[in-house]
Amino acid sequence: STIAILPSSLPQIHRAYMVQSYPELASVQPVVTKKSKTRWHFGIRSRSYPLDVMCEIYRALKNLGAEWVRPSEEELWTIKVRWKYSPVAQKEKKEGQEEETDDSVPDLMKMQIQLFQLEPNNYLVDFKFDGWESKRKDLEEEPVVDDEEQEQISSFSAYPFLHLATKLIMELAVNS
């Protein structure tokens, strides 16, 4: 094979060649695509007092127009949220025509928000996608799906959930 890499195209060699011809270019630095590894955290951290954290979350949910199930005694640190997520219909709405909402598409997203204690005064708030609900079947339990069907249903898009999570995190960040 006579496949080769062109030596004059290697960045260091090209730079040396250019600086030799134009010394003033010695100051131009290459774009450092700094590989600063994105640091990922689970959920969001909080050092505030647990009840304050919960209060902040309920306030943020209220500001964003979300609903939640009244917390039960034994599940004080879990919030079952329901969020109306009706994206703008793609088609331009004709003048005067009332917004056609496609009834078959569920537009109530459910999310579970849970507070965990990692160590004394170090808490973690986690968000979990909890399925969709359409406004008609109010609070009806999702039919239990068997494993095979679960395999099928696994093709869901996380983007609406991620989008609402960003809105909630921004609301919390702005409030705090």
Binding site: R39, W40, H41, H163, A165, I169
Partner: protein
Amino acid sequence: LATTSIKHNTLAVASVIRYKRKYVTQILYAPL
């Protein structure tokens, strides 16, 4: 949910989902 600290007014969130028999870490970058 996985999150990054907010930098340059941008927030990144991610969640690992199962798509058929494979696993996708879907990462969304959004402006504050």
